[in-house]
């Protein structure tokens, strides 16, 4: 590989990483859908999908094939370019933000003496956290435009609700993260994880950083941002048919569906990174490092996946437990409860950090 320059090696490896991460994320999306159907099935005392493959494990593949083969209906009265663009924006934003998530311990692999590439993160960006917030805020356009361009009153109402909801809860979400950033003194996700990985469980932001208030604000705001129950007013099926994606069919609908689950995965990843120590082990140094570098690297990815899985399970649990908010309750909860609480959390956190020096 001597005829390749450093930049070319970097480029090729980056493309490879992007491809691998994308495939894994899409598989994760497919199997999160299955997980949701199984878990909600068991919680409602039924089986969920069982017919295709053992335990219904091949169900996502069959579902994907079904959505591919369905007829792609294009209503006549739609605003055509925006109608097509909207699901692309939604899915694109859902998948891009996974690129700055470090899903394992920092592991550099050097090739022919050239500076190594980080194996477990696509791009280590200084402002990783802000990148995720920014991409999430762009994702609203997918929902807003889909409702408007469908030329359907249910879609429009759904997307209006969604836009208002996301804009309102974005503030509380952003403010809830300030305490974490203050503690890490950086917006780099690797550094935020590093601060939490010294004493295992005790140095996680949730426990040792005393950011549990921030965590609950984040969790509720993030559920609202991803339009998931109990904040799923934009697609409340009893009032709005299917909300913003009423007019969509076939793969365009599938793209919205995948975007929703992709956002769930991103939110779970961010919650893990910011409050639960990312890829660090909950036991810290209590268990000595065993098995060499490879085992340790795989172990860090294992911890990350376990935590993310926990959050995904929580999403599903909440969905099958809580009833939906009413619109005025949603607004007053966001503006009158979460936002002041987040501001109070910032004041207390910064005071404590300042007094401790």
């Amino acid at each position: 590989m001597n005829h390749l320059t450093n930049f070319e090696v970097f480029l090729l490896l980056s493309v490879l990483k992007v491809a691998v991460v994308l495939v894994i994320t899409l598989m994760g999306v497919a199997y999160t859908v299955l997980l949701e159907r199984k878990v909600i099935g068991y919680m409602q005392n039924r089986w969920g999908p069982t017919r295709v493959g053992p335990f219904g494990l091949l169900q996502p593949l069959v579902d994907g094939a079904k959505l591919f083969l369905k007829e792609d209906l294009m209503p006549l009265a739609v605003e055509r370019p925006l109608y097509i663009l909207a699901p692309v924006i939604a899915l694109g934003c859902a998948l891009v933000s996974i690129g700055v998530v470090p899903f394992g311990a920092e592991t550099h692999v050097s090739i022919n003496g050239s500076p190594g590439v980080d194996l477990f993160e696509v791009a280590n960006v200084n402002i990783g956290l802000l990148v995720i917030l920014g991409i999430t805020s762009i994702g609203v356009y997918g929902i807003a435009l889909s409702g408007w361009s469908s030329n359907n009153k249910y879609s429009l109402l759904g997307s209006l609700r969604s836009t208002a909801q996301v804009v309102s809860y974005e503030l509380a979400l952003g403010l809830s993260l300030v305490g974490v950033v203050l503690r890490a003194q950086s917006l780099n996700l690797r550094k935020i994880v590093e601060v939490q990985s010294t004493h295992g469980l005790l140095s996680w932001n949730f426990f040792g950083g005393f950011q549990f208030v921030a965590f609950f604000i984040y969790l509720m705001a993030a559920y609202a941002e991803t339009n998931r129950s109990p904040f799923d007013l934009p697609e409340a099926e009893s009032e709005l048919v299917a909300g913003y994606h009423t007019e969509y069919s076939s793969m365009k609908f599938a793209m919205f569906f995948m975007a929703e689950y992709g956002n769930m995965i991103t939110v779970s990843c961010v919650a893990t990174l910011l409050f639960f120590g990312g890829a660090s082990s909950p036991f810290g140094h209590l268990i000595p490092a065993f098995g060499g570098a490879v085992v340790q690297a795989i172990l860090s990815v294992f911890w990350f996946v376990v935590k993310v899985f926990g959050f995904l399970f929580l999403y599903i649990w909440v969905r099958s437990t809580l009833p939906r908010f009413r619109y005025d309750q949603l607004m007053s909860f966001g503006w009158k409860f979460l936002l002041p609480l987040a501001v109070a959390n910032i004041i207390v956190s910064s005071l404590v950090l300042a007094l401790r020096g």
Partner: protein, 168 residues
């Protein structure tokens, strides 16, 4: 790399701005403005001002333009009527635009040397954490303008509340 980014996204920004003017439907114009702002964010980032880029995306594209689109959707604004244009725009607009263009080119050409040497925010990807630098500047040297701006925004919020409140 930087030059390529500048060419691509500079062209995209100009194209978006022109499209903003030529589109008849308000929602298309608003979306063109989003494109302009996103391209500007990329340009900021390629200059090393990563925090500015993120703020541009989060504040302008993510919040303000979403509200624009929201209001256009809420009012269900239709296509604009094509008018012949006001006389004031014809008489003042073109000379005004030309004057601003001349002024800006004069400033950039005369101060070009000074701009070249000043390091705006480090280079792309060299690991400089410029948020600390920005905030230190904001809370020491620029404290008065910063606070005055926040009071200005507070006044604007109060104005909005007064306007939106129903008469008793």
């Amino acid at each position: 790399m930087q030059l390529a980014l500048f060419l691509i996204f500079g062209a995209l920004a100009v194209a978006g701005a022109l499209n903003l003017l030529f589109q008849r439907h308000p929602i298309n114009s608003a979306l063109s403005l989003v494109v302009v702002m996103m391209s500007l964010a990329v340009l900021y980032w390629s200059l090393g001002a990563e925090f500015l880029a993120a703020a541009q995306v989060i504040v302008y594209s993510g919040a303000i333009m979403v509200l624009f689109v929201f209001v256009i959707m809420l009012l269900n604004a239709g296509e604009e009527e094509h008018t012949n244009g006001s006389r004031a725009a014809y008489t003042v607009g073109m000379p005004g635009a030309a004057a601003i263009f001349c002024l800006l080119s004069f400033v950039f050409l005369s101060e070009g040397g000074a701009l070249k040497t000043s390091n705006i925010g480090g280079d792309l990807g060299n690991g400089v954490d410029n948020i600390a630098a920005v905030s230190a500047m904001l809370f020491t040297k620029q404290l008065l303008p910063f606070e005055v701006t926040s009071i200005l925004i507070l006044v604007a919020i109060l104005g909005a509340v007064v306007l939106a409140r129903k008469e008793q």
